[in-house]
Amino acid sequence: MDYKATGLVAGIEIHQQLDTGEKLFCHCPTTLREIAEHNGEFCRYLRATVSEMGEIDRAAQEEMKHDRMFRYYTYDTTCLVENDEEPPAPVNDEALSVCLMIAKMFAMTPVPQVHTMRKLVIDGSNTSGFQRTALIAFNGALPDGGLIETICLEEEAAQRVKDEVFSLDRLGIPLVEITTSPCMHTPEDVQKMAEHIGMVLRSTGKVKRGLGTIRQDVNISIAQGARVEIKGVQELDLIAEVVRREVQRQQSLLAIRDELRKRGASAGAVAGADVTELFKETKSAVLKKAKNIHAVVLKGFAGLVGREIQPERRLGSEMSDYARKCGVGGIFHTDELPAYGVTAGEVALLRTHMHAGEQDCVILVAGANGKQASCAINQVITRAKLALSDKPVPEETRKMLESGSTAYMRPLPGAARMYPETDVLPVLIDDARWNAVVIPELLSEKAQRFAQEYGIDKNYALQLASSEKLPLFYQAVTEGIKPKLAAFSILSTSTELRREGVDMQKIPDQAYLDVWHAVDSGKAAREAIPDLFRSIAAGSTSAEVLAKLAPAVSREELENIVRNIIAERRDFIAQKGKAALGPLMGVVMAEVRGSVDGKVVSEILKKEIDAATTPK
């Protein structure tokens, strides 16, 4: 697809957790816990509060449609600050320093004085009902003329355990939020930019690693469409796909609007109606359970509510997301009925009752009470009106689903969501502090240097540069170990063993060094390394495993061993010819128990097999 022609404009927000000793506004450790370890829980309600300007933020208003009681799990590593039972501590200075370092790496301008704000979030993920955040610097440079608008220092939200239950271990971990300008125009641009920013962040050595420690939000719009913010893209590889699917969704919504207008469709002219009576005898489990069933006719919508707008998503899914804000489980629409236990007879009855024609779509919602059902029907009407409007793509915050499609979360928040955090004092960033910020070498530069200095493959070099074992690599090189050997062990061998289930954490750095020295001095063979690591991870010391190696054999001795083995297996060699090399390699290596380099064994073995198979 020619994305430039679609008018695609995209920007990203990167949220990266920082690896600091303590949380951003309290002195708890930044450790993630197992849910089973929680030692207490409590419950709260949240209600939207007005901004300084006296308004209620529209995103917060949306969350308030439905009263929800949130439950929170506490740990012996959380405190009253996470419980929203104690005022916050001053901004964690370590986190601020890391944030300034990142800002300087992007050549940004720091704000003269940092003011912490409360960003209203009442979906339960923050016990206080807001996320503390502070703008630290702005105007950063990206490759290809891209621009970073701002970098903010924020507290991480609580992790949702299930439904309205949250775990407080993650709440308050410092994170930086980097917002780029809408400077990207293809799905691949977006992904590349995210990769670049991620690399810069990792160069600090002060960011958390692993799944969930970095999240990307993507802002996307196309010509005639609208800005949509997609939250929580955790896998970098999915970013381009998310962008492609959002372009598809916006284009589909535009096409549906045109079709609706051609048909003279309308929504909301006829109000919703209570149809509970019609389904008294229904076999549908959902409807049977409902106390109140409401319905509404969308004139001229038939076939379009069920039309796919991106993989696994229809216009009906969007309506369903809106209705869920009132607490209902979702909606049924006649484009998909009869199904879910609703019979053709019931559908016909419903259509007649609602005076719905062939071209019309009837939407059903099942509520726990009349208020809930009518709230949900009104949400459906609201969404249907949007589909018909001049702006059929609503400005929204959406969440990513597993495949890369997205679901509606809430309207885009406005400036009204920001309120000063009156409990935290401002922090001055003066010239002295800014000038003292030292920026580390970029991983990409480091990798280039490694490739040149140590003759390592470029990909390896980049992996090595961002590896946690980099200090070990330096140590090895200082001690005279061959860089390639160390790099190979740290990257390939470790990864293979980890996949095998070996706990590589159990191997101390010194053991790596001992093994490498043994290989370098010819005491152990390269091929023996995985075996040696396995034994060490299983609890042996490096001294023990190295002592178990067979005593080093000279080349002459080795040649004798090889000749004996070949002599014993004459028939096998006659049968297999040169292909006997592989199996015999194993036999020889077992004999010398890892004390000889496999290369030498293979060389001698090859020569002797050749000699044995060549007719004299």
């Binding site: 409590f42 709260r44 300084e52 004085q113 206080s128």
Partner: protein, 382 residues
């Protein structure tokens, strides 16, 4: 630094002079909220001493302002409209640490007037720091046939998680209940599910920040309100609506003090209290000071100061007959304050000295139970 609000909503500080004011903002007209109140519901009066129920930061002044008419409150907490209809009396807008005995008196008069005027219950909004003092003061000054409910919030009203709304709703429920005394209604635990009803003379703020900071000491809470159901349950000994006849005795003698004894406390410090009419000591353990303090205490008493001993343990009863120091204190003329909380004893002393000119009789009253502040039995454990 000059604070700038960016269009993103973020504030930053910049050096003054680095930006120029080009235009003054158009003053925002405060939206007046008109609400219809249900005439079938009982009438409650909300007396405000410091706006905790509905307050927010005023961006023009940078301070927290309280909005205080029934419309504002019902807009902020719509559930209140389901409980009662309200009239509002803005008495003061102060932080509760700036409360004074004379404001307690104004408060008592305002509450008295509202009850006389037909209010079926009173809600007093109050900062939490000294709420217990004020509740005790009203307990002594007023005989009330209807509930007088003190309420506040531990977490500011400008945060979505504030306890203000639930506390206010529970306070309204308590104020329309069968209760007939001065109480404090605040969160029972950290959960948003129950508020405790505490007797005004037995309640104390026991935590600097938690929602459930308020605790009844020496007795169990006299009731609770479930949330969100608003079901009120009262203990057997909670004073019931209509039991007392409306009366006010609003005189207070402010020349009283409360001091906490500590090891090594200089006897010279007592000189500062010469001329005071009353002095409450929060003594150690069973009610002790060091021996060194006894002679100056004796001089104070001889010069006419009524000295009452309480315990800084907060829980338990004073008994100055066990150890020598205690007996010496009694010999010096110190009055045992029973199991009264030091703060409640101070307020009571102010009230007693203003209403009973006879010193001996006043001393005896300090040991009598007037409004639940002195328990005859120590029935309740820690």
């Amino acid at each position: 630094m000059t604070v700038i609000k960016l269009s993103s909503g973020y504030n930053i500080g910049v050096p003054p002079g680095s930006c120029t004011l080009t235009e003054h903002p158009v003053p925002v007209n405060n939206v007046q909220h008109e609400v219809v109140q249900n005439r079938d519901l009982p009438t409650l009066a909300i007396v405000s001493t410091g706006g905790t129920i509905a307050s927010r930061i005023d961006y023009r002044t940078g301070s927290v302002t309280s909005q205080f008419n029934a419309g504002d409150i019902l807009t902020a907490i719509p559930e209140l409209a389901e409980v009662a209809r309200y009239r509002t009396i803005p008495l003061a807008t102060i932080l509760s640490e700036n409360m004074t005995p004379s404001i307690w008196q104004e408060l008592a008069r305002a509450v008295h007037a509202e009850i006389k005027n037909g209010a079926q219950g009173i809600i007093v909004t109050h900062g939490t720091d000294t709420m217990a003092f004020s509740a005790a003061a009203l307990s002594f000054m007023l005989d009330t046939p209807v509930p007088v409910v003190f309420v506040g919030s531990q977490r500011s009203a400008d945060r979505p998680s504030s306890d203000n709304a639930m506390n206010a709703v529970c306070a309204a429920a308590a104020a329309t209940s069968e209760l007939g005394e001065v109480v404090v209604v605040m969160h029972a635990t950290t959960n948003d599910d129950t508020c405790s009803i505490h007797r005004g003379t037995r309640v104390r703020k026991m935590h600097s920040s938690r929602r459930d900071a308020f605790r009844s000491l020496g007795i169990a809470p006299i009731g609770e309100v479930e949330y969100p159901s608003r079901n009120v349950s009262l203990a057997k000994d909670a004073v019931r609506r209509g039991k007392r006849t409306l009366a006010i005795r609003d005189k207070l003698d402010p020349h009283c003090a409360l001091i906490q004894f500590y090891p090594g406390m200089s006897p010279d410090l007592l000189k500062a209290y010469e001329g005071y009419h009353g002095l409450v000591i929060a003594g150690t353990g069973l009610g002790h000071t060091s021996t060194a303090l006894i002679p100056p205490l004796k001089r104070l008493i001889q010069s006419g100061t009524l000295v009452v001993m309480t315990t800084q343990c907060m829980n338990g009863r004073v008994c100055d007959r066990v150890y020598d120091t205690g007996r010496d204190l009694l010999d010096a003329g110190v009055i045992e304050g029973g199991d009264m909380l030091p703060e409640a004893a101070l307020v009571k002393l102010m009230w007693v000295l203003a209403n009973e000119p006879d010193k001996t009789r006043a001393g005896a009253m300090m040991q009598e139970d007037l409004k639940g502040e002195c328990m005859r039995r120590s029935a309740h454990g820690l």
